[in-house]
C-alpha cells in the first residue's frame, strides 16, 4: 500500500511545483497589494486600481464560463448588474436603518451581491444551459437584451435613466474602516479580490470544476461517466453568475450608483474582451486582461481620441495571431527564454518585436492623421515637431514604409521558423 502511495505521488505534480505554480503567485499578488498603499497613491491611481479589482473578479467569473466551461455568454453583465443593484438597495436600507438591515456592514455587501448574482443565474441558467454552443450564446444574448431593456421600464427597481444611488458610509464598521476615504475602499477591494481569486482558483480544483472542463471538452462522454452535462453546466453557470454578482457588489460600494447601462450588452462585451485578450486557457489570463484593458480604457483616452479603435485592433490581432492571449504570449516568451535554444529564440523575438513596432508606427501615423482630418477642425498630427498633414508626402512615407518593412520582417521570421520546424 505504501508503495502505491509513493508512486501515486510521482504521478501528480510535486509539492515544489505546486508551490511555484499555485502558492507563490498568490503570495506575490498579495505582496503587490500590500505595497501599493505605501507609494502614497493619488486619487487617480486609487480609482484605477479599484476599477481593476472589480474587473479582475468579473473577468475571472466570466472565464469560469468561457474558458473552463466552454460556454460563450454575450450577457454576463446581467448578473454583475443584478448583484450590484441588489447591493445598492440594501445600502439604502442600511442608511434608513430598515429592520434587520440596520446592523448589516457595508463591507460585507459583496456577499449579498454573490447571492443575488447566483440566484438570478440559477433561475436564468435553468433554461439557458440546457444546450451548449450557439444555442447557449444566442439565449444569453436574448436574455441580456430582455433584462437590460426591462430595467429601463421598472423604475422603482432600477431607477430609470438616473439609476439608483446610495451612500456607503452607514451601518456598522468592520476592521475599523469607515468606508469613506479611498484608502478605506482600497482595503475593501483588496480583501474581496483576494478572496474571490482564491475561491475561484479553488473551484477549478474541485470535482465540479474538473467536470466543468470535461463537459467543455466532451459533453457526450460526460454522460457515460455518470454525470448529467446539463446539470454540470447549470451549476457552473450559477457559480459564475454568483462571482459576477460579487464583482457587482464591489462596484456598487465603489461608485455608490448603478444605472441600467450596467446590465447592457456593452459591459457584457467588454468582459468578454478582457477575458479573451488576457487568455481564456489560463487561470491568470483574465487577471492580466482585466489589468491591461482597465488601464487602457482609462488612460489611453488621455493620449488619443482613437483609443477604441486601437482596442478593437488589439482584440482582432489577438484573436487571429495569439489565441491564447497575453498570458499565452507571456508564458510562451518565458518558455523560449528558459528553453534549450535560447540564442535563436531571442534573436527571432527581437526581430519580431522590431517588426511589430514598425507596423505599429505606420498604423499610429495613419490613424492619428485620419482622425484629425475626419474631425475637420484643421488640426494636424504633430509628433516630435513633424507636421504630418494629409497632403504631406512625408506622412505617407511614414505610413507605408514602416508597415511594409514591419510586415516583411514578420514574414521572414515566420518563414525561418517554419523551415526550422521542417
Amino acid at each position: 500500500m505504501s508503495e502505491t502511495t509513493q508512486s501515486m505521488q510521482n504521478v501528480g505534480p510535486t509539492s515544489g511545483a505546486k508551490f511555484r505554480q499555485r502558492t507563490l503567485p498568490i503570495l506575490i499578488f498579495i505582496a503587490i497589494i500590500l505595497a501599493i498603499p505605501m507609494t502614497d497613491p493619488s486619487r487617480t491611481v486609487y480609482t484605477l486600481v479599484h476599477q481593476m479589482a472589480i474587473n479582475i473578479v468579473f473577468a475571472l467569473a466570466y472565464n469560469m464560463l468561457l474558458g473552463k466551461g466552454g460556454m460563450l455568454s454575450f450577457g454576463h453583465a446581467v448578473y454583475f448588474g443584478l448583484g450590484g443593484y441588489y447591493c445598492l438597495h440594501v445600502m439604502n436600507w442600511i442608511a434608513e436603518g430598515a429592520g434587520i438591515w440596520a446592523n448589516f456592514p457595508v463591507f460585507f455587501l459583496p456577499v449579498l451581491g454573490f447571492l443575488a448574482g447566483g440566484l438570478s443565474a440559477a433561475v436564468i441558467g435553468s433554461f439557458s444551459t440546457r444546450r451548449a454552443g450557439t444555442t447557449f450564446a444566442m439565449i444569453s444574448l436574448g436574455v441580456a437584451e430582455l433584462i437590460a431593456s426591462g430595467a429601463f421600464m421598472f423604475d422603482s427597481l432600477f431607477g430609470g435613466e438616473q439609476g439608483i444611488s446610495g451612500d456607503r458610509m452607514n451601518g456598522p464598521q468592520v476592521f475599523g474602516l469607515s468606508m469613506g476615504p479611498m484608502s478605506d475602499i482600497y482595503w475593501f477591494m483588496a480583501f474581496w479580490t483576494v478572496i474571490s481569486i482564491i475561491a475561484m482558483y479553488a473551484f477549478t480544483r474541485t470535482p465540479l470544476g474538473r467536470l466543468s472542463e470535461a463537459t467543455r471538452d466532451n459533453p457526450q462522454r460526460v454522460q457515460f461517466i455518470g454525470y448529467n452535462p446539463t446539470r454540470v453546466r447549470w451549476l457552473v453557470f450559477t457559480a459564475s453568475g454568483a462571482f459576477a454578482g460579487l464583482a457587482g457588489g464591489m462596484s456598487a460600494v465603489n461608485y455608490e450608483i448603478f444605472t441600467p447601462e450596467a446590465l447592457s450588452l456593452i459591459p457584457s462585451g467588454f468582459v468578454l474582451i478582457m477575458a479573451y485578450v488576457g487568455g481564456i486557457t489560463y487561470f491568470v489570463g483574465p487577471i492580466m486582461g482585466a489589468i491591461l484593458l482597465t488601464y487602457m480604457s482609462s488612460m489611453m483616452s488621455d493620449f488619443t481620441e482613437a483609443w477604441l479603435l486601437y482596442l478593437g485592433l488589439m482584440f482582432v490581432i489577438i484573436v487571429m495571431y495569439a489565441p491564447r492571449g497575453i498570458a499565452g504570449i507571456v508564458f510562451g516568451v518565458w518558455d523560449g527564454l528558459t528553453g534549450p535554444d535560447k540564442g535563436t529564440y531571442i534573436g527571432r523575438l527581437l526581430v519580431q518585436i522590431a517588426g511589430m513596432v514598425l507596423m505599429l508606427i505606420g498604423l499610429i501615423v495613419l490613424v492619428e492623421m485620419s482622425i484629425r482630418w475626419s474631425n475637420g477642425y484643421g488640426e494636424v498630427f504633430e509628433p516630435f515637431g513633424l507636421h504630418l498633414g494629409t497632403t504631406n508626402v512625408l506622412t505617407w512615407i511614414l505610413i507605408i514604409v514602416p508597415i511594409g518593412a514591419g510586415a516583411a520582417l514578420l514574414r521572414r521570421v515566420n518563414r525561418e521558423k517554419e523551415e526550422a520546424v521542417a
Binding site: R205, T206, R210, F224, I225
Partner: protein, 255 residues
C-alpha cells in the same frame, strides 16, 4: 434463475422511413463475453447507442439486470452499472491522462457534483485512479495532455475511462480499430484483464480478436440478428457465411 445482464426484447429503431434495427431480441448472461459482428452499416453502433441510452428505441425494450432502461438518460444508465467506449476516441482532449481517468472514477466514489472540496481530497479517488492507470499501462504518460497521446494509447485511455467507474456491464465499440498487430495483442490482453468476471459486449471487425475473446457471437445483418451462437458454431453456419463472412477467410481453429 437470475435475470440476464442485458436483455433486448423486440428492439426496433427507425430514423424516418429507414429501419436501422429491426426486431432484435437477445439475452446476454452475467459474465458472458458477447461479440456482435456484421458488415458495415448493419446497425452495430446504433444497437450500442440504444443500449447505452443515447437513442430511445422506436419500439421494444432494453433491460439491465432485469430493470427496464430504455428511455432512461445515459448518465443514469451509467450509474446503474453499464459503461461504454466509442468507436472514435472520445476522451477529454484538453485534460491530462490522469485527469481523464479521475473524471471517470469520480462518480463511483461518491464525489457527485461537489464544489466544496478539493478533487485531491479523497484518497480513495487517487488510489483508484492510480490503479486504473497502472492496469492500462498509462502511468508513465499520466501527465501528458490526452490529445498528445499516440493513437494506441488513446484507445487504451478510452478503455480506461470506460472501466474507471467499475461498471459490471462493459460495451466496447471497435476497441482495436486501426491498430497494428502488436498493438491489437496488447489491447486484447487489456480487455481480457479488464473484464474479468464482468459482462462484456464487444463490436469488432477483427475476426482474430472476436474468435479469441468471445464466448458467444451474434451476427447482425441489416438490423436483424441472423445467428447467435458460440464461435465454433458461427464458423460453420452457412447463413452467416453467405450473408456476412462471404469470401473473407476465417481464422483456422487453433487448439
Amino acid at each position: 434463475m437470475t435475470a440476464p445482464a442485458l436483455s433486448l426484447k423486440n428492439l426496433c429503431k427507425s430514423f424516418g422511413p429507414a429501419k436501422i434495427i429491426n426486431d432484435v431480441t437477445l439475452d446476454i448472461a452475467k459474465g458472458e463475453r458477447h461479440a456482435i459482428i456484421g458488415p458495415n452499416g448493419a446497425g452495430k453502433s446504433t444497437l450500442f447507442n440504444l443500449i447505452s441510452g443515447l437513442y430511445t428505441p422506436t419500439s421494444g425494450t432494453v433491460s439491465l439486470n432485469g430493470t427496464l432502461i430504455s428511455g432512461v438518460p445515459p448518465f443514469e444508465i451509467n450509474r446503474m452499472g453499464l459503461s461504454r467506449s466509442f468507436q472514435v476516441s472520445n476522451i477529454f482532449a484538453n485534460m491530462t491522462v490522469r485527469e481523464n481517468v479521475r473524471c471517470g472514477v469520480l462518480h463511483s466514489m461518491g464525489q457527485g457534483y461537489a464544489f466544496w472540496k478539493s478533487v485531491t481530497a479523497s484518497k480513495a479517488v487517487q488510489e483508484r485512479t492510480y490503479e486504473i492507470l497502472e492496469h492500462c499501462a498509462l502511468v508513465d504518460k499520466a501527465n501528458l495532455p490526452a490529445a498528445l497521446l499516440p493513437y494506441a494509447d488513446q484507445r487504451a485511455l478510452e478503455i480506461a475511462i470506460t472501466i474507471a467507474g467499475g461498471a459490471e456491464v462493459i460495451l466496447l465499440d471497435e476497441p482495436t480499430a486501426g491498430m497494428s498487430h502488436s498493438e491489437t495483442d496488447r489491447a486484447v490482453d487489456l480487455i481480457r484483464r479488464s473484464t474479468e468476471g464482468k459482462t462484456l459486449v464487444i463490436v469488432e471487425h477483427d475476426m482474430g480478436v472476436i474468435f479469441d475473446l468471445a464466448d458467444r457471437i451474434s451476427v447482425l445483418v441489416y438490423g436483424e440478428i441472423i445467428a447467435s451462437a458460440p464461435p465454433s458454431q458461427i464458423r460453420g453456419d452457412a447463413k452467416v457465411r453467405e450473408a456476412y463472412l462471404g469470401d473473407e477467410a476465417l481464422p483456422e481453429e487453433t487448439v
